[in-house]
Amino acid sequence: MHVELQNIRKHFGSVKANDGISLTFEPGRIYGLLGENGAGKSTLMKILAGFQPADSGHILLDGQPAHFANPAAALRAGIGMVYQDPLDFPPFTVLENFLLGKDRRLALDFRAASAELKHLMGRYGFEIDPQANIQSLSLGERQQLELVRLLAGGGRLLILDEPTTGISAEQKDALFASMRHMARQEDRTLILVSHKLDEVQELCDHAYVLRAGGFAGEHPLPCDNNLLVEKMFGQVPRRSPRPALPLETNLLELQQVTVRTPRLTLQNINLTIRAGEVFGLAGLEGNGQELLMQAIAGLAPIASGRLLLAGRDITRHAYHQTLADGVAYIAAGRLEEGLVAGLSLTEHIILSAPRVKQTFFIRWEGARRVTAERIQAYEVVGTPQSNADQLSGGNQQRLLFAMLNPDLKLALLNQPTRGLDVRSADYIWETLYRRRAEGAAILFISPDLDEVIERSDRIAVFSGGQMSRIVKASQTSAEELGHLIGGRQ
């Protein structure tokens, strides 16, 4: 299918999300859609998928004008999309979620669907129980399900908005192979929205770049990364250096910590993290790294063992107590776990203020001022009055960091740069390095091994609830970590 977007315009109040964008997509090709956070990529793709109407502009399919009043119309025309944040149904089972909208038959055939789902997941190396509830899955697993659903459908134009944030390198290879197959053999069109330039280079034939709601250039792929980066940001951003820091005092100590959940057990974990240290946790989703973080934060009960923060025993502290102890936890799911969709930025900042600074009556004046400062400091594209769900994905991520309070001892970050463009990711790390210089320790999870190696002092890998030996970031490689992820020592 030959798809043409002509002069697409979409404004949200004063924000020009799409300001007259024209792009062409040919059948049998894979396109990369690039651009910094808030550039308008998701908005454009949602318009193409019928999720949002454009203010003006045309969509031509094989030369014929198409009007998508809703996703149903786009689906009928063969256009399917995986949204940036999984649009699934938390209380449903995996199977029900898979079946919803799958075909037109009246009675549901659970058995056939279960077999099909298992088959599809096997193809990409995903392992999810069809009977599990969606809400018990990790964000990455939910993304995997959305992918499987899209690829199982028969669409002729498939849009994937940042689909690889929750999957491993091996799973990604399988996914890319099948995307290539769809384009080359089945003559479908694929559009990949991503901030990971290496992935785009590896998979896509052609890149379109957006900037500030407009078209900023295009380039056949592969090409020099810097060419793309320059189109995205107007110049090649510098990488912030990682300052060396002596690590002396022990900040966080885990002694024989055991955590049990129905799905997973962490047995006798011993770990010491020093003030100023950046400690990376790697592993496939759901192998224990997230659970460990939640246990430290007081969000999962510690069955036995001891947890010491700066020498104080905080084993039994619940989340609100660990918060007061100077621990912060940033969850992977932005809208699902971290933010309140319908609250404004100011209200978020008020909510995140430490207990002692909270007053019964809200001091709006001051709160708005602090919010404006934080917005500036963290370069959030939005106003103190904007609601959290009106921000672009990357800007929601920045808001999460803007909510961290000044006196921080330990930051627990689950995928801190998920969905951030290169410059924003670098920016976030710069602010984290500053925290580190002030004596805070940072414990973070990332599925991106390069990020883990580049940003950490030391690294531990989780596999099936087992923690590997601890490796020094300066003395390891992605290969070695890959081995550890696979459960080999």
Binding site: F12, K46, A49, F51, Q52, P53, N70, P71, A72, L75, M81, Y83, L87, D88, F89, P90, P91, F92, E96, L99, L100, G101, K102, D103, R104, R105, L106, A107, L108, Q131, A132, N133, P262
Partner: protein, 324 residues
């Protein structure tokens, strides 16, 4: 008490709960789609009155039921139009309609009070009705009971075993996701609000044409509120709701029995019994006790067990859906 009497009481409990089962199912369908229709009590009153009046005038119970269904659907249409199209507050509209329905029924029903009229009769199922105990309870019942069972089963099947049912639940859980999968969320909500309303109307007529035949002011008053509570108690599932309706009837009957046999305790105490029981059960299933209980089960049964007992309202219940 001899055995015969017990069976008779049980079979009367079951018949009494039939209208409640229909009303609960209707509201369950509506709420599953994400709309709260709080006008139940007034709607049932007006439908009970209309159903009887039309049946009385035309001498046809079928026309009576039809008229009642239309009244229910009309009220539902007002709720749907106000909340979905005009984006007004669903709770407020519901309350206003409750008051309206109850006053209208009293006013319009003046000329139909305490008249003998047509009614729905018994319907015995050959052979099965001769079974001991179960026969008289379930197979020698008023036709309304069979209709109620049919409605409950059909609604359950539709909700949990069909593709349109998935869309319906999806619209109530996460409308934007259902929309992305091709659902016309607001169209669905209109449809199921009307359908649910019509069922509640039928439930009203079922009462005035099958249980306590005839009309008098405030004939079914309170029943709508009870149905609303049982929707929650039933965890937004028609079958659980039906069981809830029967249990409710049973505890009420039990309260009557106690009342006659225990002296010195006020009537109100016993009347409150079903509610207290309901609250206790809801507290139990929403606490983490059930999670602990589930830990004792074999892993294979844990999921189904928790799904069975843990209840949560549809997440987008009462939340309007608007496209960006």
């Amino acid at each position: 008490m001899n055995e015969l009497l017990i069976v008779k009481i049980l079979s009367s409990i079951i018949l009494q709960s039939a209208p409640l089962m229909i009303a609960v199912t209707g509201e369950t369908i509506t709420e599953r789609a994400g709309v709260v229709n709080l006008s139940l009590d007034g709607k049932m009153l007006l439908a009970a009155m209309t159903g009887f009046a039309v049946a009385y005038t035309t001498d046809s119970v079928y026309l009576g039921f039809l008229a009642a269904a239309l009244i229910g659907a009309l009220f539902a249409l007002i709720v749907a139009f106000g909340s979905i199209t005009l984006k007004l507050n669903q709770v407020a509209i519901g309350f206003v309609l409750t008051l309206l329905g109850s006053s209208l029924s009293a006013f319009l029903g003046q000329n139909f009070t305490r008249l003998p009229g047509p009614s729905v009769g018994k319907f015995s199922i050959p052979y099965l009705k001769d079974l001991p105990v179960l026969g008289p309870m379930f197979f020698d019942q008023n036709a309304i009971f069979y209709f109620a069972v049919l409605v409950v089963l059909a609604a359950w099947w539709w909700l949990f075993r069909t593709q349109p049912g998935l869309y319906l639940r999806g619209a109530g859980e996460r409308p934007e996701a259902a929309f992305a999968r091709g659902a016309g969320v607001n169209r669905l909500r209109y449809f199921y609000t009307l359908l649910g309303g019509a069922l509640v109307g039928v439930a009203g007529a079922a009462y005035s044409l099958g249980i306590k035949i005839g009309w008098s002011e405030n004939h079914t008053a309170g029943l709508g509120w009870i149905a609303l509570a049982i929707v929650i108690f039933g965890g937004w599932s028609p079958i659980r709701g039906a069981i809830g309706a029967i249990l409710f009837g049973a505890t009420k009957a039990l309260a009557t029995v106690f009342q006659q046999n225990v002296a010195g305790v006020s009537v109100q105490t016993f009347n409150a019994l079903p509610w207290v029981l309901m609250i206790v059960v809801l507290l139990l299933v929403s606490s983490d006790w059930v999670v602990r209980a589930a830990a004792w089960l074999p892993p294979r049964l844990r999921g189904p067990f928790l799904r069975l007992v843990q209840v949560a309202p549809p997440r987008a219940l009462g939340v309007e859906f608007k496209q960006d």
